[in-house]
């Protein structure tokens, strides 16, 4: 098992060394990049929006219930909600959801191309198939996931604002005061650093799982599951490492 793990790490590193090369044709790369941004990024806006609004609402309700003390000012609920959403919920939870949606898409599409010999066809033509197929997917995520996370933070805060006010847990005015009070821009920067790291993890691990499939339809399904599981585990591990390095340094 340990040997397999290190063999996997080696194969992953070798694949990445093939991916990060200069594209054969920049114009074709840009076209593929736009297509991937649409497929992996724009098509994820809906799920990210719904998830974020309700996540913000739930965080506000739970925080309000835990801080229901007359000695604690109401706007503290909004401060706690803001920090929770910015530091953890939006970058990490949304990335875990994206690992499921985008990761399985990447692994299954590459796996299908592998078992139907489309990747072999590219190789026979002299195309660096890893670079041609995987680089646009990773770059699309590196560029677009930060946008998704900023959107998620905004919608999460809006969800918390609406839920807190509508349920009478915290007034709209106190929420706005709390959201603005002691705001640290660095926390947003920290969230974006995590997002970029997660985007690379999702893109590269899922691509590795799909690109190296051997067999048929069953193996493509297994690769898709592996892509999600491994990406999620790597995100959780990276979350711990990055938090310790950036916030605890």
């Amino acid at each position: 098992m340990i040997t397999n793990f290190f063999e996997g790490i080696g194969a992953y590193a070798m694949l990445m060394s093939k991916v990060f090369r200069r594209p054969d044709r920049w114009i074709i790369f840009y076209r593929a990049l736009l297509q991937e941004i649409r497929l992996l990024g724009l098509d994820s806006i809906g799920i990210v929006a719904v998830l974020s609004v309700f996540m913000g609402a739930v965080v506000t309700i739970q925080t309000a219930l835990n801080l229901s003390d007359p000695l604690i000012p109401a706007y503290y609920i909004a401060i706690a909600t803001r920090e929770s959403i910015t530091l953890e919920f939006s970058p990490t939870v949304v990335s875990l959801i994206l690992a499921g949606k985008v990761g399985s898409n990447i692994a299954s599409s590459l796996g299908t191309m592998r078992v139907s010999e489309q990747i072999d066809a590219l190789e026979v033509m002299g195309v660096n198939s890893a670079n041609f197929l995987i680089l646009p997917k990773i770059v699309a995520q590196l560029l677009f996931n930060p946008i998704l996370i900023i959107l998620s933070i905004a919608l999460g805060l809006w969800g918390g604002y609406m839920a807190g006010g509508a349920l009478g847990l915290i007034s709209f005015t106190d929420t706005l005061i709390g959201y603005r009070m002691e705001f640290m821009p660095f926390y947003t920067f920290y969230a974006l650093i995590k997002t970029v790291a997660y985007a690379f993890i999702i893109g590269s691990i899922s691509a590795y799982c799909g690109y190296t499939v051997k067999g048929g339809a069953v193996e493509v399904g297994v690769a898709s599951t592996n892509a999600v599981v491994r990406s999620c585990l790597a995100i959780i591990l990276a979350n711990y490492v990055l938090t310790d390095l950036i916030l605890n340094a």
Binding site: D24, R25, I28, S116, E117, Q118, D120, A121, E123, V124, M125, G126, V127
Partner: protein, 252 residues
Amino acid sequence: MIQVKGIYKQFGENQVLKGVDVDFIPGKTNLIIGRSGSGKTVFLKTILGLYDPDQGSIHYGDEVLGEMTKERRMLLRQELGMVFQGGALFDSMTVAANIRFPLEMFSNMTEHQKDERVSFVMDRVRLQGSGDMFPSEISGGMQKRVSIARAISMNPKYLFCDEPNSGLDPETAIVIDQLIQELTHEFNMTTIVNTHDMNSVLEIGDHVVFMKDGYKVWEGTNNEVLGSTNADVEEYVFKSKLFKQVRVALRK
């Protein structure tokens, strides 16, 4: 000319190729025949460079495939066309985009020249009017023709076909065989076809190589294959009722 000298290939414990030597005849249709599992596809993919042989060498003209630099190997691959067993068409692209793809990647043609080339190749494989369709919208025979069109779009020196008429009805299979032979002669390509279809062997086999259990057992022409005294070839060729009757007729 492609020469294969003593190649061996093993996957895990399974020794697939056991020292195969073949000289493929330039400008002709070379057929590799044998039962399923005889090593034909691995042999073809090894010649193409998709698998590295464990021993032996593959010569393209004066150059040895295994000794080429990465850059030279990439350039060589642009001289190769390949028709895969399942077509291997890019299913997210239309028929025309599939055929145009190698031109987009590797040629310095203008857009107009690319359009003309795609149109010429589509005409040549009788695919007029299908350019805007997707691979999932066309028949198996048409998919094979698109695959052939894509393979010859860059005007390659070498054309490889892995069971090009598998899964096709006999009439369409003959059309595909004849198309491959016509294109081979018209563009003076060296064509190597993997097949286990005896009709193809008799129809287009300028040079036939018979493989069994990873060995080359026999080679000759389509005219010689029916008269071969090799026991393995005889067993393979005259397995079906039809060919048993052919043998009886030949002996009369």
